[in-house]
């Protein structure tokens, strides 16, 4: 297959949520000498941007977005190991997770997908994440973004604990901190000293891009 066909095929596989095709074409890209970063930027990210636009326009809904994300991660699994380490290091690290005591992660996973598509190096800490893990990730990456999510009121306090921990460890000024989830608000972000609140994944990407 020609370069353009492969890249268009990766884009189409992501838009269509076809993980098998995304993986197959990503392997073909590498085999045919296409740079991994080109396959990501010109195929995968292009596809995810289309998915993001369709989701915002209410043409795509969660099933399509989740399948597209699955295809994207399948492609990334193939492509990421082929990116030179010095180029990988240029991406801003985002430590993302659902705070301690909560396991509702569908919103967090959508944000993770959109941030990955936007070119961030996303370190998914998972769910029920203790404050120390957010802080440890910020320390390991000398700052970056700390992104916290929760769906429940009793677990909001975990976000404040992370913010306090970042201050105590001297990392706060090196980080941009963003929160999201049903009980959160910009007011709460202000109260705990976080930089931003995002109502959805698209807004998270927009706010972080503007700030970084």
């Amino acid at each position: 297959m020609k370069r353009e066909e492969i890249l268009a095929g990766i884009e189409k596989a992501v838009v269509g949520g076809k993980r098998v095709d995304a993986v197959k074409l990503s392997n073909e890209a590498i085999a045919s000498g296409i740079k991994a970063l080109d396959a990501i930027d010109l195929g995968m990210i292009k596809g995810m941007n289309i998915v993001g636009d369709k989701y915002a326009a209410h043409e795509y809904f969660l099933p399509q977005v989740l399948l597209a994300a699955d295809a994207m991660y399948g492609a990334l699994d193939v492509l990421l190991p082929h990116i030179p380490k010095d180029q990988l290091g240029k991406r801003i690290n985002v430590a993302i997770g659902v705070v301690e005591g909560d396991v509702h992660d569908i919103g967090k996973n959508i944000v993770k997908t959109m941030l990955t598509a936007a070119g961030y190096a996303v370190n998914d800490l998972g769910r029920d994440v203790a404050p120390e893990k957010f802080i440890a990730s910020a320390r390991e990456h000398n700052g970056g973004v700390v992104a916290m999510s929760t769906l429940m009121t009793p677990t909001l306090e975990g976000m404040k604990m992370v913010m306090d921990g970042l201050i105590e460890s001297g990392l706060r000024m090196k980080c941009k901190c963003i929160i999201g989830g049903a009980p959160t608000s910009q007011e709460y972000a202000d109260d705990i000293g976080a930089d931003f609140h995002a109502i959805n994944a698209q807004e998270a990407v927009v706010k972080l891009k503007a700030a970084l």
């Binding site: 209410h58 969660l62 429940m152 009793p154 009980p183 709460y188 959805n200």
Partner: protein, 367 residues
């Protein structure tokens, strides 16, 4: 101001859009009312595990706050837990599934309807019976139950179900048949408790998650929600809906399903989220009593002064919209979703909301 109608008179009149002495009000205070029982230290995990304790919160809450309704929401993990998913029970947090039951498509086939006389289904049904018995002469009572799609996503994990809607469609439909059958048994159990109504949580009917076609296929069609809505009415209970998601499918859930009450939330920062005056102005209150839409977080983080201001603002917005629409009373001043059952929720804010509606909730369109 002295009340001229009792709670039941007011609620019934509102359901029929008759003139009322004031708007109805019900901040959705369920689990939080466990703090009104005894010394206020009842653990959440105890509240959701014992029918008598469950009922006691509604009884104590009614005494403390003088609501116009009593709706028996426990939490959204009752069905999933009884199906076999692992439910985490913290002392002071809403129970939640921390280990979904479905790991592979074949697991959907293994789902079976549990006995609703056991497990937390029993706690919910028996607890509902007890608070209905205690309060039925005072307020309109209702049970609360998860719709089949919500119950399935709680059991299986939402991401998995949404992806399997495309990749393993028939397996999801089989599982929804099981959820619906489980819901049928619950409806019959609730009917024995004799509440005036039954509130269905149809959370996934929202445009942030599903389009019309997929929602119709996986919940809205006759064999799922349609069947359950009809059964609810056939068993003598008013069929009601709670949906606190953003961008709800109002045309489907209000106009097509035709509930007696529709409880909803408002998200001012989300484009397209309908404000109360829009909901009324677009005719949805013509069809049913709408409930909402105070931000539940205000009960936790706000002051009583802020709660009064917010409630007054909502009351004024609703009164203006009702009068413009030629309606009298088809709006219940409520929270958009459950008042957080957290130990940090300020009980005085619940009282302030109710008292503000009592003081300012009179509707006089001539003025």
């Amino acid at each position: 101001m002295a009340e001229q109608m009792n709670h039941i008179q007011r609620a019934v009149a509102s359901l029929q859009d008759q003139p009322v002495d004031r708007l109805t009000t019900y901040p959705l205070a369920m689990g939080v009312c466990r703090r009104c029982v005894g010394d206020g230290t009842m653990k959440y995990s105890d509240w959701v595990s014992d029918p008598k304790k469950f009922a006691s919160a509604f009884i104590a809450g009614q005494k403390a706050f003088d609501f116009d309704f009593a709706i028996g929401l426990m939490d959204l993990s009752v069905m999933a837990g009884d199906l076999g998913a692992h439910v985490r029970m913290d002392d002071q947090n809403t129970p939640f599934v921390d280990d979904p039951l479905i790991k592979n498509p074949e697991d959907y086939e293994k789902l079976h309807v549990p006995d609703v006389r056991k497990g937390r289904s029993h706690v919910l049904l028996e607890g509902t019976r007890q608070f209905v018995d205690a309060l039925k002469n005072d307020v309109i009572t209702a049970g609360f139950v998860e719709g089949p799609l919500l119950a399935l996503t709680q059991t299986a994990g939402a991401e998995k179900v949404f992806m399997d809607m495309v990749n393993n469609r028939s397996a999801v439909h089989h599982a929804l048949d099981v959820m619906t059958a489980f819901d049928v048994d619950l409806v019959k159990g609730f009917a024995e408790a004799k509440p005036a109504g039954l509130v269905w949580d149809y959370l996934w009917g929202n445009y942030s998650c599903l389009g019309d076609a997929q929602y119709d296929e996986f919940e809205g069609q006759h064999k799922y929600a349609g069947k359950l809505n009809k059964l609810t009415a056939d068993m003598g209970m008013a069929f009601c809906i709670h949906n606190c998601a953003d961008l709800p499918h109002l045309d489907t859930q209000v106009k097509k399903f035709a509930p007696a009450i529709y409880s909803m939330a408002y998200y001012p920062l989300i484009p397209g989220s309908p404000a109360p005056k829009e909901v009324i102005g677009k005719g949805y209150a013509d069809k049913c009593l709408i409930g909402g839409e105070i931000d539940p977080q205000l009960f936790v983080r706000g002051t009583p002064e802020k709660m009064q201001q917010t409630t007054m603002k909502l009351v004024q917005e609703v009164k203006t919209a009702l009068c413009a629409r030629g309606l009298h009373s088809k709006y219940c001043i409520a929270s958009g979703c459950e008042v957080p059952p957290s130990v940090t929720t300020k009980l005085e804010n619940i009282a302030t909301c109710v008292e503000t509606v009592k003081q300012y909730g009179q509707v006089d369109c001539a003025k």
